[in-house]
Amino acid sequence: MDHAGVVLGGLSIDGEADKLAFVDAVTAHQSLVFSIAYHLLRNATLAEETAQDVFLRLYQDFDKIQSASHLIHWLRRTTTHRCLDTLRHSERRTHVSLDELDIDPPSAQPDRDPIMSQTLRRLVAELPAGARAVVVLRFQEDLEPREIAQMLDLPVNTVKSRLQRALIVLRGKLASLEESPHE
């Protein structure tokens, strides 16, 4: 569980207490931010740079954070939007070919089915950016469609339909992979 003991208020970042709170926030939530960035961008270097940028932005806006839950919401939202901007502006567009994908960084816990996990991560990377963001926020962060809709500034029904279509696509591709002979 994330460090719920971080107390944040509207103090100036120059205060020693706030500096310690910021350090605590980075330490406690770096995996959250990095993971969202990595699963959306599928490039560890780019994900690390993006994650650093997010925390630097947090440093600037730290006095606006009102609570620990607000902090987590802020980090999820900022990271996701920054990644979506990167995907929109980069030449990678919304689709990433399998050849371009990085080797997956190690997980904190061992995969029960590492091959399936690796396959699914690659299939998720092939989804359009919008659908990819919905899937990551749903299954990495365990957010409900309503929360995802608020975070992405989308109607709830749009989030639900994107999620549904993404699952259909993923199931279909998995089925195709299972049926096609391995070379």
Binding site: S35, Q52, S117, L174
Partner: protein, 120 residues
């Protein structure tokens, strides 16, 4: 069929940030927040030299401007004096035309005669 949603949760679980990530964030943070002080301390001689050059340029510009103003004022003064001189000469000429020399002499003679007759 496997429940794809459980598999997705496992596949998309959070991954640890790379080693040293937090340190890099703090380093960038310190660089950003202390940049104004650090830049002043580290490259102070450079900025001092640049500031000195700029000050010299500005200073020479100020001196030049003052010299220009003084020169301009002196020229204006000279022109004014010249105009007054011309005016004075013209006035003198006008007087001479209005009161010719022989008339002054005649007036002087008459005054002398008057004075001598009164003296008798």
């Amino acid at each position: 069929m496997n429940d794809i949603e459980d598999d997705l949760k496992a596949a998309l679980c959070r991954k640890p940030a790379p080693p040293g990530f937090a340190a890099k964030v703090f380093e960038r943070m310190e660089d950003g927040s202390a940049s104004s002080k650090a830049r002043w301390k580290v490259s102070n001689p450079f900025w001092m030299a640049a500031a000195a050059v700029i000050l010299m340029m500005v200073g020479s510009g100020v001196v030049g401007y003052r010299h220009h103003v003084r020169t301009r004022n002196e020229a204006a003064l000279n022109r004014t004096l010249a105009a007054l001189s011309i005016a004075a000469a013209q006035l003198d000429e006008a007087e001479k035309r209005a009161f010719p020399q022989e008339r002054w002499e005649r007036i002087g003679k008459q005054l002398s005669e008057v004075q001598s007759s009164e003296g008798k």
